[in-house]
């Protein structure tokens, strides 16, 4: 068994394989410098300084050796031969597999905007990325965040906790509106505003140089450094070069099998059939990636069940957490039940009268119940 990727899906797969008694060899290749860690924390408590570094690893270093898992960090797979069933590493070494899991995840987007390739324009994906931002924050008074995405907003809040002046610039008028609707978006904007985040919404950015982030209305934000929260793209290059079916993600079937024998894909990189309608979807959530990794482990051990778990994620904002169960790319104008202001609310996302997803604040059991309902 070879696993490419040391994120949620890769880790969950090898952990479940060994837990269930898989006694074949397991090699895990990770481009990351660190052994699998608690990635969501990189934009939450860890970035804010409220989580200790020793809380971050999924397992202590000895666990991998104890479980006969050959974990190779800082290691890229250079090529994949689906016919010979082998993976070639950058150093020329070749690894044969009976089963291969591609869980290469996604990488932050750096748009081709002047200055966005500078070393003081940071992205946030890895633990090392978080450490670099923490180091920069230690010598800074002011940061500008580009993008009012979940990562952008969580970064803004975390750096406010560290006492920085924080500006957020984004083209949309209401943060998160496309995903969560206007009501949650406005409420979230208010939470961050109360925490001292300064928003520059409705503006594109045109460049970053000499500590100035230029906006498309001719104004500028002065900042000591920049964090880009502008989304991610799936890491599909290896699969694409190997001739696997790829369409903005590695195409897999309901058992998470890619288009060549013995190859699976899971997590952010995989595009799998939505159990509700068969439409191929790709999900960028930590819990979901872990679930898919676990599913691949069970599939390798002979379980032919389709993957049917509804996607789930949580997001942390000043004084509140949002839980989101299900998947809704397009939805009718959502209805807010309860009160967001009182942190006791649910927002249903439906299309054509069918519930697709539910966001909750302070209604945890409701989120779980809808999760059961949305499981096919």
């Amino acid at each position: 068994m070879v696993v490419i990727g040391g994120g949620a899906a890769g880790f969950a797969a090898v952990e479940m394989l060994r837990r269930k008694g898989f006694d074949g060899s397991v090699t895990m290749l990770s481009a990351d410098a660190d052994a699998p860690y608690d990635r969501p924390n990189c934009s939450k408590d860890y970035l804010a300084g409220d989580a200790q570094p020793e809380w971050m690893p999924m397992r202590d270093a000895s666990w991998y050796a104890d479980h006969d898992i050959d974990l190779r960090l800082g290691t890229d797979a250079a090529a994949l031969d689906p016919v010979a069933k082998s993976v070639t590493l950058g150093n020329g070494e070749s690894l044969d597999y009976d089963a291969l899991l591609i869980a290469t995840g996604a990488e932050p987007i750096r748009p081709p905007i002047a200055g966005f390739d500078r070393p003081d324009a940071y992205v946030l994906r890895s633990l090392r990325d978080a450490d670099a931002i923490i180091a920069a924050a230690g010598q800074a008074k002011c940061v500008a965040v580009v993008g009012a995405s979940f990562i952008g907003l969580e970064t803004a809040a975390a750096l406010r906790t560290r006492g920085l002046e924080v500006h957020v610039a984004a083209p949309e008028a209401i943060p998160l509106a496309r995903v969560m609707g206007d009501d949650i978006g406005r409420w979230v904007r208010g939470l961050h505003g109360q925490a001292g985040v300064v928003f520059h919404l409705g503006h594109g950015v045109t460049g970053w140089s000499d500590g100035r982030l230029a906006l498309d209305d001719g104004t500028a934000i002065d900042a000591d450094f920049l964090v880009l929260g502008m989304g991610v793209r799936p890491r599909v290059a290896l699969a694409e070069a190997a001739g696997l079916a790829v369409d903005r993600g590695i195409m897999v079937d309901a058992q998470l099998r890619a288009s060549a024998p013995g190859i699976y894909a899971a997590g952010d990189v995989a595009r799998f059939p939505d159990p509700h309608n068969g439409q191929p979807i790709r999900i960028e959530h930590w819990v979901h990636a872990g679930r898919q990794g676990q599913h691949v482990a069970r599939a390798i051990l002979g379980d032919a069940a389709p993957f049917t778990d509804p996607p789930y994620f949580w997001s942390v904002h000043p004084g509140a957490e949002i839980r989101y169960i299900g998947h809704a790319e397009a939805f009718d104008p959502p209805h807010v039940g309860g009160s967001l202001a009182h942190h006791d609310a649910e927002v249903a996302f439906a299309s054509g009268g069918r519930l697709l997803a539910l966001a909750t604040v302070g209604r945890d059991r409701r989120s779980l119940k809808i999760g059961v309902e949305l499981t096919v």
Binding site: A8, A12, E15, R18, R19, D23, M58, W63, D66, H67, D68, W286, V287, A289, G290, R291, G293, Q294, D309, Y312, W314, I325, D364, R365, S367, L368, K369, G371, V372
Partner: protein, 129 residues
């Protein structure tokens, strides 16, 4: 758990009627927090906090013989304590539970088993894999 809720001493025992079918209660055994549940006529006792971020499982949901964490939706098997679904991977510790004379009581398990990870580690050192 809300502040006004008194945390029951499960070692001392609680009335059977406090735990109807399909419900769960969090309490203590000594200085440890324990969750007890009655599902399908069967009693279960496991650690009360999720092994992921220590979410209070009593505020979660019973689904068959599983409990789901209110915070990040990990699933655990009440029978074995196994973490069935991410984001948790470590099992819940299990406790003994008994019901007699209208009283339910929980206690440390008399037959102490090694936690799964420790057992695996021993197994791997013994050369099983």
């Amino acid at each position: 758990m809300s502040e006004e809720t008194r945390v029951p001493d499960l070692a001392g025992g609680i009335p059977s009627t406090d735990l109807p079918e399909g419900t769960m209660i969090a309490g203590t055994v000594g200085d440890e927090e324990v969750l007890i549940a009655r599902v399908g006529g069967r009693l279960f006792a496991v650690a009360a906090l999720c092994t992921h971020y220590h979410g209070p499982l009593v505020d979660g949901l019973l689904v068959g013989e599983t409990v789901r964490c209110p915070w990040h939706h990990a699933h655990f098997c009440l029978r074995t304590g196994e973490a069935l679904a991410a984001p948790a991977t470590d099992p819940l510790k299990r406790w003994a539970i008994s019901e007699a004379g209208g009283v339910i009581a929980s206690a440390k398990r008399s037959t102490r088993r090694l936690p799964r990870r420790a057992a695996r580690r021993q197994a791997s050192r013994a050369g099983w894999w």
